[in-house]
Symmetry: C2
Subunit: 243 residues, 2 copies
Protein backbone atom coordinates (compact mmCIF):
# COMPACT_ATOMS: atom_id res chain seq x y z
CA UNK A 1 0.00 0.00 0.00
CA UNK A 2 1.21 3.45 -0.86
CA UNK A 3 2.20 5.58 2.14
CA UNK A 4 -0.14 8.51 2.73
CA UNK A 5 1.15 12.06 2.98
CA UNK A 6 0.29 14.55 5.69
CA UNK A 7 -1.15 17.54 3.85
CA UNK A 8 -1.77 21.03 5.17
CA UNK A 9 -3.10 22.49 1.92
CA UNK A 10 -3.08 22.12 -1.84
CA UNK A 11 -3.66 25.33 -3.74
CA UNK A 12 -3.06 27.16 -6.97
CA UNK A 13 -2.27 27.73 -9.66
CA UNK A 14 -0.54 30.87 -8.50
CA UNK A 15 3.04 31.96 -9.14
CA UNK A 16 6.08 30.82 -7.23
CA UNK A 17 7.10 33.74 -5.04
CA UNK A 18 10.70 32.85 -4.27
CA UNK A 19 14.03 31.71 -5.64
CA UNK A 20 15.04 30.61 -9.12
CA UNK A 21 11.46 29.87 -10.18
CA UNK A 22 10.08 33.23 -9.08
CA UNK A 23 7.12 34.24 -11.23
CA UNK A 24 6.50 30.72 -12.57
CA UNK A 25 2.95 29.36 -12.39
CA UNK A 26 2.73 26.50 -9.95
CA UNK A 27 0.46 24.42 -7.74
CA UNK A 28 1.58 24.24 -4.13
CA UNK A 29 1.38 21.00 -2.19
CA UNK A 30 2.07 22.01 1.38
CA UNK A 31 2.73 19.25 3.87
CA UNK A 32 2.01 19.47 7.59
CA UNK A 33 4.69 19.13 10.25
CA UNK A 34 8.14 20.58 10.75
CA UNK A 35 11.28 19.79 12.73
CA UNK A 36 12.08 23.52 13.02
CA UNK A 37 10.40 26.46 14.75
CA UNK A 38 11.70 29.54 12.97
CA UNK A 39 11.02 32.82 14.77
CA UNK A 40 9.65 34.42 11.62
CA UNK A 41 7.87 31.39 10.15
CA UNK A 42 5.00 32.58 7.97
CA UNK A 43 3.28 29.17 7.72
CA UNK A 44 2.86 28.16 11.36
CA UNK A 45 -0.41 26.49 10.42
CA UNK A 46 1.71 23.91 8.58
CA UNK A 47 4.28 23.65 11.37
CA UNK A 48 2.78 23.59 14.85
CA UNK A 49 1.15 20.40 16.25
CA UNK A 50 -1.70 22.66 17.44
CA UNK A 51 -2.88 22.65 13.84
CA UNK A 52 -2.57 18.90 13.40
CA UNK A 53 -6.33 18.42 13.28
CA UNK A 54 -6.35 20.63 10.16
CA UNK A 55 -3.91 18.33 8.37
CA UNK A 56 -5.13 15.37 6.36
CA UNK A 57 -3.44 12.10 5.43
CA UNK A 58 -3.94 11.72 1.70
CA UNK A 59 -2.73 9.10 -0.77
CA UNK A 60 -0.51 10.16 -3.71
CA UNK A 61 -3.25 9.36 -6.31
CA UNK A 62 -5.73 11.54 -4.42
CA UNK A 63 -3.20 14.38 -4.15
CA UNK A 64 -2.44 14.08 -7.83
CA UNK A 65 -6.12 14.11 -8.72
CA UNK A 66 -6.43 17.43 -6.87
CA UNK A 67 -3.33 18.87 -8.57
CA UNK A 68 -4.65 17.82 -11.98
CA UNK A 69 -8.01 19.35 -11.21
CA UNK A 70 -6.43 22.67 -10.17
CA UNK A 71 -4.16 22.69 -13.22
CA UNK A 72 -7.01 21.82 -15.57
CA UNK A 73 -5.20 18.70 -16.71
CA UNK A 74 -2.18 20.67 -17.96
CA UNK A 75 1.38 19.83 -16.93
CA UNK A 76 2.57 22.31 -14.33
CA UNK A 77 5.34 22.94 -11.84
CA UNK A 78 4.39 21.38 -8.49
CA UNK A 79 5.98 23.14 -5.51
CA UNK A 80 6.42 20.82 -2.55
CA UNK A 81 6.56 22.97 0.53
CA UNK A 82 5.72 22.85 4.22
CA UNK A 83 6.44 22.71 7.03
CA UNK A 84 9.31 20.46 6.06
CA UNK A 85 8.16 18.30 3.16
CA UNK A 86 11.23 16.08 3.62
CA UNK A 87 9.42 14.57 6.61
CA UNK A 88 6.87 12.98 4.25
CA UNK A 89 7.08 9.95 1.94
CA UNK A 90 6.91 11.81 -1.38
CA UNK A 91 8.57 9.31 -3.74
CA UNK A 92 5.33 7.85 -5.11
CA UNK A 93 3.75 11.27 -5.57
CA UNK A 94 6.70 12.45 -7.65
CA UNK A 95 6.66 9.30 -9.79
CA UNK A 96 2.93 9.65 -10.34
CA UNK A 97 3.15 13.35 -11.14
CA UNK A 98 5.95 12.84 -13.60
CA UNK A 99 3.73 10.42 -15.50
CA UNK A 100 1.25 13.30 -15.83
CA UNK A 101 4.00 15.56 -17.19
CA UNK A 102 4.41 17.66 -14.05
CA UNK A 103 7.75 18.87 -12.75
CA UNK A 104 8.65 19.07 -9.07
CA UNK A 105 10.47 21.60 -6.92
CA UNK A 106 10.96 20.95 -3.22
CA UNK A 107 11.89 23.49 -0.62
CA UNK A 108 13.36 22.36 2.67
CA UNK A 109 15.69 23.67 5.34
CA UNK A 110 17.97 20.73 4.55
CA UNK A 111 17.73 18.99 7.90
CA UNK A 112 16.48 15.63 6.58
CA UNK A 113 17.84 13.87 3.48
CA UNK A 114 15.64 11.56 1.45
CA UNK A 115 16.68 9.23 -1.39
CA UNK A 116 13.82 10.55 -3.54
CA UNK A 117 15.49 14.00 -3.64
CA UNK A 118 17.22 12.57 -6.72
CA UNK A 119 13.84 12.35 -8.47
CA UNK A 120 13.12 16.09 -8.18
CA UNK A 121 13.65 18.72 -10.87
CA UNK A 122 14.63 21.38 -8.34
CA UNK A 123 15.90 21.09 -4.79
CA UNK A 124 15.84 24.42 -2.94
CA UNK A 125 17.87 24.15 0.23
CA UNK A 126 17.10 26.91 2.71
CA UNK A 127 19.38 26.61 5.72
CA UNK A 128 18.05 28.94 8.39
CA UNK A 129 20.10 31.98 9.45
CA UNK A 130 20.61 33.22 13.05
CA UNK A 131 17.49 35.42 13.03
CA UNK A 132 15.39 32.26 12.78
CA UNK A 133 16.59 31.38 16.31
CA UNK A 134 17.16 27.80 15.16
CA UNK A 135 20.45 25.93 15.00
CA UNK A 136 21.52 24.89 11.54
CA UNK A 137 23.80 21.89 11.00
CA UNK A 138 25.32 22.22 7.56
CA UNK A 139 26.46 18.59 7.61
CA UNK A 140 22.78 17.74 7.23
CA UNK A 141 22.63 20.01 4.20
CA UNK A 142 25.66 18.12 2.85
CA UNK A 143 23.66 14.91 3.26
CA UNK A 144 20.73 16.39 1.31
CA UNK A 145 23.02 17.29 -1.55
CA UNK A 146 24.54 13.83 -1.50
CA UNK A 147 21.03 12.32 -1.65
CA UNK A 148 20.19 14.48 -4.66
CA UNK A 149 23.09 12.91 -6.59
CA UNK A 150 23.37 16.06 -8.68
CA UNK A 151 20.22 15.09 -10.57
CA UNK A 152 17.86 17.97 -9.69
CA UNK A 153 19.05 21.54 -10.02
CA UNK A 154 20.16 22.39 -6.51
CA UNK A 155 20.21 25.92 -5.13
CA UNK A 156 20.71 27.61 -1.78
CA UNK A 157 18.11 30.14 -0.65
CA UNK A 158 18.53 32.12 2.54
CA UNK A 159 16.23 34.66 4.16
CA UNK A 160 18.15 37.76 5.24
CA UNK A 161 16.92 40.02 8.02
CA UNK A 162 20.16 41.48 9.37
CA UNK A 163 23.95 41.53 9.21
CA UNK A 164 24.31 38.25 11.08
CA UNK A 165 22.05 36.53 8.54
CA UNK A 166 24.07 38.02 5.72
CA UNK A 167 27.33 36.76 7.24
CA UNK A 168 25.73 33.34 7.62
CA UNK A 169 24.79 33.39 3.94
CA UNK A 170 28.35 34.27 3.00
CA UNK A 171 29.68 31.29 4.93
CA UNK A 172 27.11 28.93 3.43
CA UNK A 173 27.97 30.18 -0.05
CA UNK A 174 31.67 29.58 0.66
CA UNK A 175 30.88 26.00 1.65
CA UNK A 176 28.96 25.33 -1.59
CA UNK A 177 30.84 27.31 -4.27
CA UNK A 178 29.18 25.46 -7.13
CA UNK A 179 25.60 26.19 -6.02
CA UNK A 180 23.64 29.29 -7.05
CA UNK A 181 22.74 31.35 -3.97
CA UNK A 182 19.46 33.28 -3.68
CA UNK A 183 19.26 35.90 -0.95
CA UNK A 184 15.69 36.60 -0.02
CA UNK A 185 14.64 39.81 1.63
CA UNK A 186 13.28 38.87 5.05
CA UNK A 187 9.57 39.40 5.59
CA UNK A 188 8.98 40.59 9.15
CA UNK A 189 5.16 40.31 9.07
CA UNK A 190 5.04 37.16 11.24
CA UNK A 191 7.33 38.79 13.82
CA UNK A 192 5.13 41.88 13.89
CA UNK A 193 1.97 39.79 14.25
CA UNK A 194 3.58 38.02 17.22
CA UNK A 195 4.59 41.32 18.82
CA UNK A 196 8.25 40.37 18.51
CA UNK A 197 9.45 43.50 16.75
CA UNK A 198 9.17 47.22 17.30
CA UNK A 199 8.30 47.84 13.69
CA UNK A 200 4.69 48.81 13.28
CA UNK A 201 4.01 47.39 9.88
CA UNK A 202 5.55 45.43 7.04
CA UNK A 203 4.50 47.81 4.33
CA UNK A 204 5.83 48.17 0.81
CA UNK A 205 8.18 50.95 1.87
CA UNK A 206 9.66 48.60 4.40
CA UNK A 207 10.10 45.95 1.71
CA UNK A 208 11.76 48.46 -0.62
CA UNK A 209 14.05 49.60 2.19
CA UNK A 210 15.08 46.05 3.02
CA UNK A 211 15.63 45.29 -0.64
CA UNK A 212 17.87 48.33 -1.12
CA UNK A 213 19.82 47.45 2.03
CA UNK A 214 20.46 43.89 0.85
CA UNK A 215 21.42 44.96 -2.66
CA UNK A 216 23.80 47.48 -1.09
CA UNK A 217 25.48 44.78 0.99
CA UNK A 218 25.96 42.47 -1.98
CA UNK A 219 27.30 45.24 -4.17
CA UNK A 220 29.65 46.56 -1.46
CA UNK A 221 31.08 43.07 -1.03
CA UNK A 222 31.25 42.49 -4.77
CA UNK A 223 29.33 39.29 -4.28
CA UNK A 224 28.34 39.17 -7.92
CA UNK A 225 27.36 35.49 -7.96
CA UNK A 226 24.49 36.06 -5.55
CA UNK A 227 20.92 36.81 -6.60
CA UNK A 228 18.80 39.18 -4.49
CA UNK A 229 15.02 38.76 -4.60
CA UNK A 230 11.97 39.81 -2.65
CA UNK A 231 9.04 37.48 -2.03
CA UNK A 232 6.81 38.08 -5.01
CA UNK A 233 3.65 36.89 -3.24
CA UNK A 234 4.23 39.38 -0.41
CA UNK A 235 4.50 42.10 -3.03
CA UNK A 236 1.34 41.02 -4.81
CA UNK A 237 -0.84 39.95 -1.92
CA UNK A 238 0.71 41.35 1.23
CA UNK A 239 1.44 38.46 3.52
CA UNK A 240 -1.13 36.15 2.01
CA UNK A 241 -0.28 33.09 0.02
CA UNK A 242 -1.47 34.23 -3.37
CA UNK A 243 -4.83 32.74 -4.21
CA UNK B 1 40.93 51.15 -35.48
CA UNK B 2 38.21 49.87 -33.20
CA UNK B 3 34.81 51.41 -33.77
CA UNK B 4 33.66 53.65 -30.96
CA UNK B 5 30.35 53.10 -29.19
CA UNK B 6 27.73 55.75 -28.48
CA UNK B 7 27.24 55.63 -24.73
CA UNK B 8 24.45 57.20 -22.69
CA UNK B 9 25.64 55.95 -19.31
CA UNK B 10 27.67 53.27 -17.58
CA UNK B 11 26.58 52.54 -14.03
CA UNK B 12 26.49 49.95 -11.32
CA UNK B 13 26.95 47.53 -9.85
CA UNK B 14 23.29 47.28 -9.08
CA UNK B 15 20.94 44.36 -9.68
CA UNK B 16 19.25 43.48 -12.92
CA UNK B 17 15.61 44.45 -12.53
CA UNK B 18 14.00 42.39 -15.26
CA UNK B 19 13.72 39.02 -16.92
CA UNK B 20 15.61 35.79 -16.31
CA UNK B 21 18.51 37.53 -14.56
CA UNK B 22 16.32 39.46 -12.14
CA UNK B 23 18.18 40.13 -8.90
CA UNK B 24 21.62 39.40 -10.35
CA UNK B 25 24.38 41.98 -9.72
CA UNK B 26 25.36 43.70 -12.93
CA UNK B 27 26.99 46.74 -14.49
CA UNK B 28 24.81 48.48 -17.07
CA UNK B 29 26.31 49.81 -20.28
CA UNK B 30 23.54 51.89 -21.79
CA UNK B 31 23.98 53.00 -25.36
CA UNK B 32 22.45 56.14 -26.87
CA UNK B 33 20.04 56.09 -29.76
CA UNK B 34 16.97 54.08 -30.66
CA UNK B 35 14.96 53.20 -33.74
CA UNK B 36 11.75 53.04 -31.65
CA UNK B 37 9.72 55.60 -29.73
CA UNK B 38 7.70 53.61 -27.23
CA UNK B 39 4.88 55.54 -25.57
CA UNK B 40 5.92 54.38 -22.12
CA UNK B 41 9.70 54.45 -22.63
CA UNK B 42 11.39 55.02 -19.26
CA UNK B 43 14.82 55.89 -20.70
CA UNK B 44 14.05 58.67 -23.17
CA UNK B 45 17.41 60.23 -22.30
CA UNK B 46 18.99 57.29 -24.13
CA UNK B 47 16.53 57.42 -27.01
CA UNK B 48 15.71 60.93 -28.20
CA UNK B 49 18.15 62.88 -30.38
CA UNK B 50 17.47 65.85 -28.09
CA UNK B 51 19.80 64.16 -25.62
CA UNK B 52 22.52 63.44 -28.17
CA UNK B 53 24.88 66.00 -26.66
CA UNK B 54 24.79 63.95 -23.46
CA UNK B 55 25.99 60.83 -25.28
CA UNK B 56 29.68 60.12 -25.71
CA UNK B 57 31.55 58.08 -28.30
CA UNK B 58 33.84 55.78 -26.33
CA UNK B 59 36.22 53.04 -27.43
CA UNK B 60 35.70 49.47 -26.18
CA UNK B 61 38.91 49.54 -24.06
CA UNK B 62 37.78 52.74 -22.34
CA UNK B 63 34.32 51.30 -21.70
CA UNK B 64 35.88 48.14 -20.33
CA UNK B 65 38.20 50.15 -18.08
CA UNK B 66 35.14 51.85 -16.59
CA UNK B 67 33.30 48.54 -16.16
CA UNK B 68 36.34 47.02 -14.45
CA UNK B 69 36.64 50.03 -12.18
CA UNK B 70 32.98 49.82 -11.18
CA UNK B 71 33.21 46.07 -10.61
CA UNK B 72 36.42 46.39 -8.62
CA UNK B 73 38.23 44.14 -11.05
CA UNK B 74 35.85 41.22 -10.43
CA UNK B 75 34.08 39.39 -13.24
CA UNK B 76 30.49 40.50 -13.45
CA UNK B 77 27.42 40.32 -15.64
CA UNK B 78 27.43 43.25 -18.07
CA UNK B 79 23.95 44.32 -19.18
CA UNK B 80 23.96 45.97 -22.59
CA UNK B 81 20.91 48.16 -22.79
CA UNK B 82 19.70 51.33 -24.44
CA UNK B 83 18.11 52.80 -26.42
CA UNK B 84 18.64 49.94 -28.80
CA UNK B 85 22.15 48.59 -28.23
CA UNK B 86 21.92 46.62 -31.47
CA UNK B 87 22.54 49.92 -33.29
CA UNK B 88 26.09 49.98 -31.94
CA UNK B 89 29.23 48.03 -32.93
CA UNK B 90 29.55 45.93 -29.76
CA UNK B 91 31.58 42.95 -31.05
CA UNK B 92 34.95 44.21 -29.81
CA UNK B 93 33.57 45.19 -26.41
CA UNK B 94 32.16 41.71 -25.89
CA UNK B 95 35.44 40.05 -26.91
CA UNK B 96 37.40 42.33 -24.63
CA UNK B 97 35.04 41.82 -21.70
CA UNK B 98 35.09 38.08 -22.08
CA UNK B 99 38.87 38.19 -21.71
CA UNK B 100 38.27 39.87 -18.35
CA UNK B 101 35.86 37.09 -17.34
CA UNK B 102 32.69 39.13 -17.73
CA UNK B 103 29.47 37.74 -19.16
CA UNK B 104 27.11 39.69 -21.41
CA UNK B 105 23.36 40.07 -21.63
CA UNK B 106 21.82 42.27 -24.29
CA UNK B 107 18.29 43.59 -24.33
CA UNK B 108 16.79 44.77 -27.56
CA UNK B 109 13.38 45.08 -29.18
CA UNK B 110 14.65 42.75 -31.90
CA UNK B 111 14.43 45.16 -34.80
CA UNK B 112 18.08 44.93 -35.86
CA UNK B 113 20.10 41.71 -36.07
CA UNK B 114 23.85 41.69 -35.57
CA UNK B 115 26.29 38.84 -36.19
CA UNK B 116 27.84 39.42 -32.75
CA UNK B 117 24.57 38.37 -31.08
CA UNK B 118 26.15 34.90 -31.27
CA UNK B 119 28.90 36.06 -28.88
CA UNK B 120 26.48 36.99 -26.08
CA UNK B 121 25.61 34.88 -23.05
CA UNK B 122 22.03 36.10 -23.01
CA UNK B 123 19.86 37.66 -25.68
CA UNK B 124 16.67 39.21 -24.30
CA UNK B 125 14.31 39.97 -27.14
CA UNK B 126 11.58 42.42 -26.18
CA UNK B 127 9.17 42.88 -29.06
CA UNK B 128 6.96 45.83 -28.22
CA UNK B 129 3.23 45.30 -27.63
CA UNK B 130 0.39 47.54 -28.90
CA UNK B 131 0.46 49.86 -25.88
CA UNK B 132 3.93 51.02 -26.97
CA UNK B 133 2.27 52.60 -30.04
CA UNK B 134 5.04 51.18 -32.20
CA UNK B 135 4.73 48.62 -34.99
CA UNK B 136 6.54 45.37 -34.38
CA UNK B 137 7.73 43.20 -37.28
CA UNK B 138 8.31 39.71 -35.93
CA UNK B 139 10.28 38.75 -39.03
CA UNK B 140 12.98 41.03 -37.70
CA UNK B 141 12.88 39.14 -34.41
CA UNK B 142 13.28 35.95 -36.45
CA UNK B 143 16.42 37.46 -37.98
CA UNK B 144 17.81 38.26 -34.52
CA UNK B 145 17.32 34.67 -33.45
CA UNK B 146 18.98 33.43 -36.61
CA UNK B 147 21.94 35.74 -35.95
CA UNK B 148 22.27 34.35 -32.43
CA UNK B 149 22.77 30.86 -33.87
CA UNK B 150 21.38 29.34 -30.67
CA UNK B 151 24.59 30.19 -28.86
CA UNK B 152 23.38 32.65 -26.20
CA UNK B 153 20.38 31.78 -24.07
CA UNK B 154 17.53 33.52 -25.87
CA UNK B 155 14.36 34.64 -24.14
CA UNK B 156 11.31 36.74 -24.98
CA UNK B 157 10.35 39.51 -22.58
CA UNK B 158 7.20 41.56 -23.09
CA UNK B 159 5.82 44.47 -21.08
CA UNK B 160 2.13 44.05 -20.40
CA UNK B 161 -0.15 46.99 -19.72
CA UNK B 162 -3.50 45.72 -20.93
CA UNK B 163 -5.45 42.93 -22.58
CA UNK B 164 -4.18 43.81 -26.06
CA UNK B 165 -0.58 43.53 -24.85
CA UNK B 166 -1.36 40.20 -23.26
CA UNK B 167 -2.90 38.89 -26.48
CA UNK B 168 0.18 40.08 -28.35
CA UNK B 169 2.39 38.17 -25.90
CA UNK B 170 0.34 35.03 -26.46
CA UNK B 171 0.83 35.29 -30.21
CA UNK B 172 4.57 35.92 -29.87
CA UNK B 173 4.88 32.93 -27.54
CA UNK B 174 3.04 30.77 -30.07
CA UNK B 175 5.52 31.82 -32.75
CA UNK B 176 8.52 30.86 -30.59
CA UNK B 177 7.41 27.77 -28.66
CA UNK B 178 10.95 26.85 -27.65
CA UNK B 179 11.77 30.21 -26.04
CA UNK B 180 11.07 31.04 -22.39
CA UNK B 181 8.63 33.96 -22.15
CA UNK B 182 8.83 36.60 -19.41
CA UNK B 183 5.79 38.80 -18.91
CA UNK B 184 6.72 42.03 -17.26
CA UNK B 185 4.21 44.12 -15.38
CA UNK B 186 3.99 47.43 -17.22
CA UNK B 187 5.29 50.47 -15.38
CA UNK B 188 3.06 53.46 -16.16
CA UNK B 189 5.29 56.09 -14.52
CA UNK B 190 6.57 57.54 -17.83
CA UNK B 191 3.00 57.83 -19.13
CA UNK B 192 1.93 59.59 -15.97
CA UNK B 193 4.88 61.99 -16.14
CA UNK B 194 3.90 62.82 -19.71
CA UNK B 195 0.27 63.43 -18.73
CA UNK B 196 -0.83 60.54 -20.96
CA UNK B 197 -2.84 58.68 -18.38
CA UNK B 198 -5.60 59.47 -15.94
CA UNK B 199 -3.87 57.58 -13.16
CA UNK B 200 -2.43 59.89 -10.57
CA UNK B 201 0.52 57.88 -9.43
CA UNK B 202 2.43 54.65 -10.03
CA UNK B 203 2.55 53.66 -6.41
CA UNK B 204 3.27 50.28 -4.92
CA UNK B 205 -0.43 49.51 -4.64
CA UNK B 206 -0.72 50.08 -8.35
CA UNK B 207 2.20 47.73 -8.99
CA UNK B 208 0.65 45.07 -6.75
CA UNK B 209 -2.69 45.46 -8.52
CA UNK B 210 -1.10 45.14 -11.95
CA UNK B 211 0.89 42.13 -10.80
CA UNK B 212 -2.22 40.38 -9.46
CA UNK B 213 -4.09 41.14 -12.67
CA UNK B 214 -1.35 39.66 -14.85
CA UNK B 215 -0.95 36.57 -12.66
CA UNK B 216 -4.72 36.14 -12.85
CA UNK B 217 -4.67 36.25 -16.66
CA UNK B 218 -1.87 33.71 -16.93
CA UNK B 219 -3.52 31.35 -14.45
CA UNK B 220 -6.95 31.68 -16.06
CA UNK B 221 -5.44 30.77 -19.43
CA UNK B 222 -3.35 27.99 -17.90
CA UNK B 223 -0.32 29.52 -19.54
CA UNK B 224 2.01 27.64 -17.21
CA UNK B 225 5.17 28.09 -19.29
CA UNK B 226 5.12 31.88 -18.83
CA UNK B 227 6.94 33.70 -16.06
CA UNK B 228 5.38 36.84 -14.52
CA UNK B 229 7.70 39.41 -12.99
CA UNK B 230 7.62 43.02 -11.83
CA UNK B 231 10.53 45.40 -12.43
CA UNK B 232 12.67 44.91 -9.35
CA UNK B 233 14.33 48.32 -9.65
CA UNK B 234 10.92 50.04 -9.67
CA UNK B 235 10.08 48.17 -6.51
CA UNK B 236 13.35 49.11 -4.81
CA UNK B 237 13.88 52.64 -6.08
CA UNK B 238 10.58 53.81 -7.50
CA UNK B 239 11.17 54.72 -11.11
CA UNK B 240 14.87 55.36 -10.71
CA UNK B 241 17.55 53.18 -12.19
CA UNK B 242 18.93 51.72 -9.00
CA UNK B 243 22.18 53.42 -8.02
Amino acid sequence: MTARIRISEIFGPTVQGEGPLIGRPTVFVRTGGCDYRCAWCDTLYAVLPDYRDQWTLITPPDIMARVNELAGGQPILVSLSGGNPALQPLADLITLGRNHGHSFALETQGSIAQPWFADLDWLMLSPKPPSSETTTDLELVDACLAAAQARPRCVIKISIFDDADYDFARSVAARYPSLPVYLQVGNPSPLIAAGRTDTEQADEDDLARRLRWLIGKVVADRWFAATVLPQLHVLAWGNKRGV
